[in-house]
Amino acid sequence: MLLALWASCVLAQDPVLERRVTSLSHELRCLVCQNQTLADSNAPLAIDLRNQIREQLAAGKSERDVVDFMVARYGDFVLYRPPLKGSTILLWAGPFAFVVVGFTLLVRVVRRRRIAAPQLSDAERSRAAKLLE
């Protein structure tokens, strides 16, 4: 445990690396304290996984590689940003679809109300104009 902390302290000297670790840790879910990100959780596993992230990024792996590493071991559950796959198309497209459907209905309603407005004949129009003078 102390070894892990020491290792993380040594590597923690590099602020750019730390920023990458933190930003990636914010995208991953802690498996133990499941309502926290890996960045915020103090569970031992979270600390271990943060160290893993740090070591791998320091060794030259990309964010993508680290994410794949985590998913291979823990599944999609560990990702707070759901991956775009067949099963999540509805999720990602949904909000956009809501807006499109909503505005389509809005246009329809507005059109309906407009048509309902009375149309004056020319005679009525000139009468109205005379009255308004």
Binding site: L31, Q34, R73, G75, F77
Partner: protein
């Protein structure tokens, strides 16, 4: 009218979903490793630090790996079940002592009994991460070719052993 029916339809679907949800456990994280080869490791034994063991050593046999630690109360709760499995001769049970200290683990075994054929010592939990361990105890069933076929998260109980573990091991042993 159409709007109302749409809303009712969504409502009914929602209630159905929630009803199903009542029988699910949102906290359980199934393992993506099922059907994949057991991640390789080579670790010292807990009891004899000079000797090492690798998952390769079990190829050709169906075996069970039980992840435990002395600081884990549910591990103590499931210990009699694990012991019974080992004693029944169903399959060899290998222990993975996870993020523990020898000075705590050995007395724990002395107090509660050691049912394991052998125990590997994963002090820093790296191998645990490779196996997707997130909450001890966890138990894996691995087949002859070294592929993980089943994972149970949390303490084992007699029901799970009877309904899941035993049938699977028997099936794998007979040729599955």
């Amino acid at each position: 009218m159409k709007r109302a029916l749409w809303t009712l339809g969504i409502f009914v679907a929602l209630v159905a979903l929630l009803a199903v949800g009542l029988r699910l456990d949102p906290r359980e994280v199934p393992s993506p490793l099922i059907g994949k080869p057991a991640p390789p490791f080579e670790l010292p034994l807990l009891t004899e630090p000079d000797k090492r063991f690798s998952q390769k050593d079990m190829l050709g046999k169906v075996w069970i790996m039980n992840v435990w630690a002395s600081w884990c109360p549910p591990c103590l709760v499931e210990h009699p079940v694990v012991t019974r499995i080992a004693q029944s001769g169903l399959a060899p049970v290998v222990g993975l002592n996870y993020k523990d200290a020898r000075d705590d683990a050995l007395p724990w075994l002395k107090r509660n009994g050691n049912p394991y054929q052998l125990i590997v010592f994963d002090a820093n939990g790296r191998i645990g991460i490779d196996y997707g361990v997130y909450g001890v105890p966890e138990t894996y069933v691995i087949d002859r070719k070294g592929v993980i076929r089943y994972k149970h998260i949390g303490p084992l109980n007699a029901d799970v052993v009877k309904q899941k573990v035993e049938p699977l091991v028997q099936q794998l042993n007979s040729g599955g």
